[in-house]
Symmetry: C2
Subunit: 435 residues, 2 copies
């Protein structure tokens, strides 16, 4: 273990970026404290599969302290950070205690954002945490359950309408999986309606799906979703979300389940430091990822606004956060070894992947792009490869192979319903049934 006098690095947030910093520096002569408000690291790229009953929560989450246990110079704390005192170099925790740092890395991630419509949140939940995913799973499965008991045709049709707002990878993945859930997994499970009558509507304000990919891939994604039975509505902004449904392009669409995949905002790290941020709250970092005016404070991942040489933003995806974490760790190490100047951070685009249901995907490596079943298998192997540890890889592979060959999903649990006000609101809309 490093001496108590060793340089103390505090990392706030154990997502992809924060963990990368901790692991790279774990072997060196520093003290590291990792602080996270949750006890687990989450593999967010597969979170939508928990929300759609394909994977169990524990298959995509790892206890942070277990991931870091073999590094004796790393301490993990489960605590909520509420501020930074940059003058005295201290992190402020929720219980009013403080933790002093020599170097601070802010890797606090993002939450979904409603761009001035926070009142939509109870009706259109987003997907960022394990709790979000189980709440969305509960809503989707409960809508089918309530449809089985509904007697009014209009009410049933509303219960069987699923609206996903936002045509990025998460929206596309949710829409494709919910369509498969309705048409395949649940096909024989209900007596009072046909699950094929479910409507899955994917709404995107922009002119195409997957705006981060090339246009040909956007078009392929749209066609594949339509084949799965998804209604894709492009160029149609949503102007209202209520307990009754959504208003799309001026038209009311009754829907009991609305999911938000349209935008994220950074955690309040910029406010902690009173430094400039972009519209989504990301800190406008220097080329070496330090916070301007605070050379010993770094921001990475969804907390940082990082531009590429062509002016485009480094995307908010796991590989980018990891690269930034690695760069910051190298910078800290170089500084401790006396180096003063470092080349600026350069993002290396390893390509983009998105999946559409269980048989198609799009892959864009820049130099090559492809679609279809091969892309799906590549997507699957890539994600299993990036899971941590053999245990999780085996479990996820088993779950996927099972769904692939049987169409059945094993995580169809409705749990923890009491705290969800929206469902209660909806439930009162159901007329008495089966008299």
């Amino acid at each position: 273990m490093a001496a108590d006098s060793a340089h103390h690095i505090v990392i706030v947030g154990a997502g992809f970026g924060g963990l990368e910093v901790a692991r790279y520096l774990a072997g060196t002569n520093v003290r590291i404290t990792v602080i996270d408000g949750r006890n687990h690291h989450l593999f967010q790229p597969l979170l939508y599969q928990v929300a759609t009953a394909s994977l169990a929560t524990s298959e995509i989450a790892w206890p942070i302290r277990s991931l870091l246990r073999r590094y004796s110079n790393v301490t993990t704390l489960l605590a909520k950070v509420v501020g930074v005192n940059s003058q005295d170099q201290m992190v402020l925790l929720e219980d009013s205690t403080t933790i002093a740092f020599d170097t601070l890395v802010l890797a606090t991630g993002a939450r979904h954002a409603y761009f001035g419509h926070d009142e939509w949140e109870p009706f259109a939940p987003g997907l960022k945490t394990i709790e979000d995913a189980t709440a969305i799973r509960r809503r989707i499965l409960s809508a089918f359950e309530r449809a089985e008991r509904a007697t009014d045709a209009g009410e049933r049709s509303k219960l069987l309408t699923f609206v996903i707002i936002g045509g990025g990878p998460t929206g596309v993945e949710l829409a494709g999986t919910i369509a498969e859930l309705a048409r395949e997994t649940l096909r024989n499970d209900f007596r009072n309606f046909n699950t094929q009558d479910s409507r899955v509507v994917l709404v995107e304000a922009g002119s195409r799906l997957l705006p981060g990919f090339r246009e040909a891939l956007s078009d392929y994604a749209r066609r594949t979703l339509v084949q799965l039975g998804v209604e894709v509505r492009l160029g149609q902004p949503v102007s209202q979300c209520t307990a009754d449904g959504v208003v799309i392009d001026g038209q009311q669409l009754p829907a009991a389940t609305i999911l938000w995949a349209a935008g994220v905002a950074a955690s309040p790290a910029a406010e902690w430091l009173h430094v400039p941020a972009d519209r989504a709250g990301r800190i406008l970092v220097a080329p070496d990822l330090t916070v301007p005016g605070h050379p010993n404070i770094f921001a990475i991942g969804d907390t940082a606004h990082v531009e590429m040489p062509d002016g485009k933003l480094v995307p908010g995806i796991a590989p980018a956060a990891k690269q930034e974490g690695r760069y910051v760790a190298e910078t800290i190490k170089a500084r401790l070894e006396g180096e003063k100047v470092r080349p600026p951070f350069r993002y290396s685009d390893a390509g983009s992947l998105a999946t559409i249901g269980k048989r198609a995907a799009v892959v864009d490596f820049g130099w090559i792009k492809f679609t279809g079943r091969l892309a799906w298998w590549l997507w699957g192997f890539a994600h299993i490869y990036f899971l941590i540890g053999l245990r999780h890889r085996l479990a996820v592979a088993l779950s996927w192979l099972w769904i692939y060959f049987t169409g059945q999903r094993s995580a169809r649990l409705i749990t923890q319903g009491s705290a969800d006000s929206r469902e209660k609101a909806n439930q009162s809309h159901i007329p008495p049934t089966r008299p």
Copy 2:
């Protein structure tokens, strides 16, 4: 599908007993409606493994309608039953709707009971549902997390003390697994204390553990638990449970985590029908498992008080509920075929099993009893055999083999904390740390 005019059997509760009735009668010319307040059938014998982070929730739960989907004459409803109108032969649901029946089977199960000390529940939660299990898991894991941040030695020792009240199979299994969690799984995960200093205390008011087993096995269980580091306190009743800990035999024991495995009470089915029940609320059924005075209403499983010829009670375990369900289904079928007289229900004891940590168990088949590693493997195979479907068997086998060979548990998730008042109460007891 059976005609709408067919005999309508309503089954309330899709536990082991209720499911058995539905499956046996599914092929016959009747209409069946299964009503449960939850969407999943739960394999309760392994629930303690979810509470101790060994298994994922979805590994021991199945969507009820998925289990019954291939039977076209069975309808599954997710609904909460709040009463029975036996005069008009109707079941009353929470939303004031009713469902008419020709034959009713009450298989509503049990909740944990505090025998006149309901005020203990917030401090000593019991284990009956998936939510109970994730709440207990959260408490156990949070206690270790808070211990890592505690500075006061007394506070830390309280956080690292786990008291289990009740020396039946659930209490023995919880105590053994928590001891292994502390001593093996978490051994290298903390920096500010040694997890070997955790205290696991199993308290039983009676004179021996596992009172349903033979005395030699009780003694073996006690010795094995002591070897695992559990303090076993026999003949010591608990007289108080508070946020500070428990009072055992007049002595205060500070403990942040108290778990209740001491008793259950039946659901209020007896009250619905205004019929006599035993002290634990179980209906005193006739020898053919009908409710006295209601020849077309049956009660089975934990809802029924059934005596064996020797005057002993049929135990509240899964095989007993299944046998009762099978007997009731045969009786209903015989009646529809015109038979009037049926032999009374006879319980066939297939033996008892309980496990003590991950390397020992006790098995009592009546004609043979044995203990140790062989018993553990038998216990494991038996439970995997009784899981439904290859998917769950593979998943649970993988989880167990992983724990067996690595000591690591994959379901160490702290989730859904906000609703738990006890934890908040405890958190305010922690003094500020790391100044």
